[in-house]
Symmetry: C2
Subunit: 224 residues, 2 copies
DNA sequence: CCGCTGTTCGAGTTATTGCTCAGATTTACG
DNA sequence: CGTAAATCTGAGCAATAACTCGAACAGCGG
């Protein structure tokens, strides 16, 4: 009883069905994820079936369902792993820039975003659209420590904007932070997906900075 | 032979398998689309099966495959119809603003975009993500007459920007127009999808105008 | 009213899928 | 070495899907 309850809680957190206790089980899980990723890359989402995953991973279908409640969970796990990995890599840099120039922080954030989206897109367009793109970050991409949802990230950005009030002014910080975090991500994602060659334009970074300013700078315009 | 070739061409253009010549066939096609739309709205994409569509439309599966090469084509047709309809509605207004203020044109464009995305999202999130969101406009949303692809729309915007050179300056107009057309659409789509309540913020429209300026205004900054 | 073409029918074909479960196998550990 | 827990097996179940095709039916020009 006690143990079953415990497992349920852990399942919630990890997205797994059973938590592996022996080493070989962890290998199996990795093999499954790797196999699924491989099939995804080479044959597309629709080719990712439980049978094929099992075959490629060198295990049986049963083993697969020992740890994943369903096929979707595997695809999501792939997305999550990449996002987690990328945001862990990005965290130190962003944290370092946290209390410094807002522009620099945002630039770094955008650069990381592009990296992540390219990585995810590399796993195939269909997968990207159905699973990766809309997935929210489960952990912080910066600005904080510990697990942080995408909503939380928006909230953190709002607070950051308020703390930079002197160079930002006052207005709808909620809207601004949402567009800054989610909107810009989608914008960059579209760029990555449809016109990757434009990423090399020297005009891009300055433009992004200006867009960020347009989102954050609420001070009355001198020119108007 | 001649006729078969002709049909192939028409299929390409309309996305249909056979072109209806009698009136009842057109009714059937409409009934199919309507039925599919209804199921989509009430039960989600995965519930949209050929059998169910046929049943609800009061026809047989065979009739369905007479006109649509496969199920996807039906879903796409739904997307396309909405986009076509919306852009036809929008065309006069945008054309009228074409040679006037750039800001006003863009504002109108964004407003229309929000409308369209809300309409599409109303058909369900999964459908929106899998079929609608990434679909490019098959016809002009404005700025021109006749069928215009999304790429063409970007090109038109680029030209428009160049024609407004005096208030725009010179730089990467290609990047700017892409972000203005596609990027902004995705940004607004995200807003519509995730935080529709922010659409009512009085800060939104001014912010969008400022963002557009940040994308288009390449003149050297006086403050820098 | 004939005959031709466009249209509709819907049972049947083919295929595959996600997932279960009873039992075999491996590991941990006293 | 023995036993209980963890792990793995894979044939088989149940479900349902997309799509075909030969035959029936309806509209229309002559």
């Amino acid at each position: 009883m006690q143990k079953t309850e415990q497992k349920k809680v852990e399942r919630r957190l990890s997205g797994l069905r059973n938590v592996p206790v022996q080493a070989r089980a962890s290998f199996t899980i990795d093999a499954i994820i790797d196999a699924a990723t491989e099939i995804l890359k080479t044959q597309g989402v629709d080719a990712v079936t439980t049978r094929r995953i099992a075959a490629r991973a060198g295990v049986s279908v049963g083993a697969l369902y020992q740890y994943f409640p369903n096929k979707e969970a595997i695809l999501m796990q792939i997305s999550n792993r990449i996002m987690d990995q990328e945001s862990i890599e990005a965290s130190p840099e962003l944290f370092r820039l946290n209390r410094q120039s807002l522009d620099e922080l945002l630039q770094a954030l955008f650069q990381r975003t592009v990296r992540t989206e390219m990585h995810l897109l590399g796993l195939g367009k269909d997968f990207y659209r159905r699973y990766a793109r809309h997935m929210q970050f489960g952990r912080a991409q910066g600005l904080g420590r510990g697990p942080v949802s995408s909503d939380q990230l928006v909230a953190n950005m709002a607070q950051l904007l308020r703390s930079h009030a002197e160079e930002v002014g006052e207005a709808d910080t909620e809207l601004a932070s949402f567009l800054l975090v989610r909107g810009m991500r989608m914008m960059l994602a579209t760029l990555v997906e449809e016109r990757p060659e434009l990423l090399d334009s020297p005009a891009l970074v300055p433009m992004l900075v200006r867009i960020s300013r347009a989102m954050t700078d609420f001070r009355p315009r001198s020119e108007d």
